[in-house]
Symmetry: C2
Subunit: 130 residues, 2 copies
């Protein structure tokens, strides 16, 4: 329970690698080899992080990825959201899901504050102090 997905683990590991390299670019290939992450999968993850402005990508020769924000400003919550999508504890609540228990189940409402606290907590942990 609450186990991070491989995607999330890989993302954090790759980010930590990039933090150590500071502003220097690193290619997917390099990161994949050093961190022992399957390269095509890592490529996807770094793309997701770039879309959320956590990383900056440069295409072409001498291209690669580097941090687009100071490490202290990147929260664990940011990474989770970029890679896994919005954090929510119940299946219902996403617009497409209709729940046959709606009439009597108050799980979602009860979980809402828990979820909120959890997110707040994860937002306070940056990749640096984490």
């Amino acid at each position: 329970m609450f186990k991070l997905s491989k995607k999330t683990e890989y993302s954090i590991i790759a980010l930590q690698y990039l933090i150590k390299r500071e502003a220097q670019m690193a290619t997917v290939k390099e990161i994949a080899e050093k961190c022992k992450i399957p390269q095509p999968l890592l490529a996807k993850l770094l793309q997701l992080l770039a879309r959320k402005q956590i990383l900056r990508s440069v295409q072409g020769v001498n291209g690669g990825y580097r941090l687009d924000q100071p490490a202290a400003k990147i929260s664990v919550a940011d990474v989770l959201e970029a890679v896994e999508g919005p954090l929510r504890m119940t299946a219902c609540g996403s617009s497409s899901v209709r729940c046959e228990r709606l009439s009597f189940c108050d799980l979602r409402q009860r979980l809402a504050p828990v979820q909120k606290e959890l997110i707040t907590y994860l937002q306070k942990i940056s990749l640096l102090d984490f």
Copy 2:
């Protein structure tokens, strides 16, 4: 991310039903129908909860399940652990998993305090105030 499994949802819903019924027994069949949960699956879940002394089971005619503890003493963490097994955020750390990144990856150690806080938090939420 952090979405509760169906098992967990079903367990909490069933427990809330049992809380409303107070000390009265309810059969798996009854709970399954009222809460719209597949009966054989629910049966498994209630067994897990009974093993952890969250529920008390009585076999035979007129048997069923009832709470084995006051609702206020049952924490969300208890339910999660009973149904999902120990809460841990990394795949490594369970004895059977060997990680090829061990030499340089400190994810597990860094996640340890996060995980601890999370568990502490979930332990403080009972089925009543939740």
